[in-house]
Symmetry: C2
């Protein structure tokens, strides 16, 4: 399946996901709460998580979608949006996707509550559509997200540079919910334990690979395509995988340069972007990151072989390829 | 049942509730997260919500407790604790039950996340012990709590003094979760729809009456018994029911005095406590509040008649009487 076909297949699904969320939010009695939730949810998000639930359900159910699929799917978008709302309060972020963040517009108090509402609604939807097994998935994913945030705070204090720490945080913050979204679709469709595990691995790997490619695009992307400035991670002092690998590999001048760069102020660090990029390149940080992303996607795609060929399998295979190949 | 017998009956239940929470929290992998949760949960709370779940289950199940009763019961204590954690962040509170608040000790970021963890855990416990019906109760209670907070924020801006607004906020912030805790016990024990409704009314009324008595004790309580200074609500500018009723009833000098008191600064307002108390007393604010609390408790107690006599029914009747008679 070509990338253009993939996008043409995802587009109507995105519209149905959005419609399901609008219908669900119509029950809210408080206009100011609704205003915050609409700002948080209808902001051009890619709906990757609910799409995975839907295609995993289709794959596991041999093309027939269980009645509650969309209501279960939007639980994962809600949980994602709730965590972004709380993250932006925690990080004092005033921007989200190029717009003012909800906390910048309405203050921390209402945004914490709006996140709580979405959080509760997500659990309610998951539990009432797919029962205890899906609740368990959602509960574990939330616990993993919270524990990963705590690990990251500790790590920030200790300036820990272990790559396995990077992956532990990434699995908790990003991988856990995406893995749960895919597995939940399989659960809803009555998949076998082996199929559930396959969807879980597929989703988790997709999430990790997506982030590794993000790390690469942050250094190497074309701003005209990504819509973002390059070097943002360096500016913010985020130790992403390319830099971590380079730090482990570098010797001599590159090593001392990379070591001292971390102690600079953010603007001074950003001014060194070209040299940092060169040092990462020379020490294999970019190629090793790309190799790891490719390996994750290979494994994810191999898991799909467990299912008979179907349009849903084609979509999931194309999505995995897209995550790796994407330029934006 | 005498008050001393009631307390002697509740004490071992409180110990079992605490033990169930300790066992449940043992699965947490992050020591700093666990530290915050222990501070938030093991702080001398009365465990009213889980106790209601347990006695409602016992009442509805004719004395036999379903296996998962304690795991379901603690979900309500978790949700309560989660909402207090987020409330204290929202209110910038540095004290909780006479100790430093969690946000004062560990900062807002970690406390928001700790609340999210408890929130998720509560839904997971409710959904996996008692299924979709209990999840629905928990989801509605959370939505009611969040919407009531939004209503209160709006009300604060508009200085709205309607008594029905006071009750709407109280039902959402306090009544909804307590009603759900009692109803959930009935659901778990397989109660009839009529019995479920009875437990819901019992719990909701108990929660409202508890708060009305709190409002009275704040003006009239004995600090040696309550452990709190009197006049705290006046100092903080909280328009509780005694004052709202007096404002509606007062004429002439009392009316203009009560009107202007609200525009004073908090310390100047608190200095007028004696006179405010006199004006509320003269205009029936205290007696009308006490009458309303008594009526709520009468209705709650009448609902118990739906069940055959049992030790659990005696406990719930004694608890209702205690809520009204308590001096602390």
């Amino acid at each position: 399946m070509k990338q253009s076909e993939l996008l043409a297949t995802l587009e109507p699904e995105t519209a149905k996901i959005d419609a399901a969320m609008r219908a669900d939010l119509a029950g809210i009695g408080s206009p100011p709460l609704l205003e915050i939730l609409e700002h948080a949810i209808f902001n051009g998000g890619k709906r990757i998580r609910p799409a995975l639930t839907i295609f995993a359900a289709s794959l596991s159910g041999a093309g027939t979608l269980p009645a509650d699929t969309y209501r279960l799917a939007i639980a994962f978008e809600y949980l994602h949006a709730a965590s972004l709302l709380h993250d932006d309060v925690i990080d004092h972020a005033d921007q989200r996707r190029g717009n003012a963040s909800a906390n910048a517009l309405w203050g921390n108090s209402t945004v914490i509550l709006a996140g709580d509402y979405l959080h509760a609604r997500a659990f309610l939807l998951a539990g009432t559509t797919a029962g205890a097994q899906c609740l368990d998935l959602l509960g574990r994913a939330t616990a993993a997200m919270v524990e990963a945030e705590f690990l990251q705070m500790d790590t920030a204090r200790e300036a820990n540079r272990a790559e396995d720490n990077y992956f532990a945080i990434l699995r908790g913050k990003t991988g856990a919910l995406i893995a749960a979204a895919a597995e939940a679709g399989a659960v809803l469709a009555g998949a076998s334990a082996r199929q559930r595990a396959a969807m879980r691995t597929y989703g988790g790997n997709l999430g990790l690979a997506f982030q590794l490619v993000d790390d690469l695009l942050d250094y190497l992307g074309d701003p005209r395509l990504t819509g973002k400035k390059v070097g943002n991670d360096l500016h913010e002092g985020r130790m992403t995988l390319p830099l971590l690998i380079a730090l482990r590999q570098a010797e001599g001048e590159d090593r001392s340069f990379l070591e001292q760069i971390l102690s600079l102020k953010s603007d001074d660090r950003a001014a060194q972007l070209e040299r940092v990029r060169g040092a990462i390149e020379r020490n294999g940080g970019f190629s090793a990151t790309r190799d790891q992303a490719a390996e994750l996607i290979r494994t994810a795609t191999a898991e799909l072989e467990l299912f008979p060929p179907s349009p849903a399998r084609q979509v999931l295979a194309a999505l995995a390829a897209y995550v790796l190949a994407r330029k934006k």
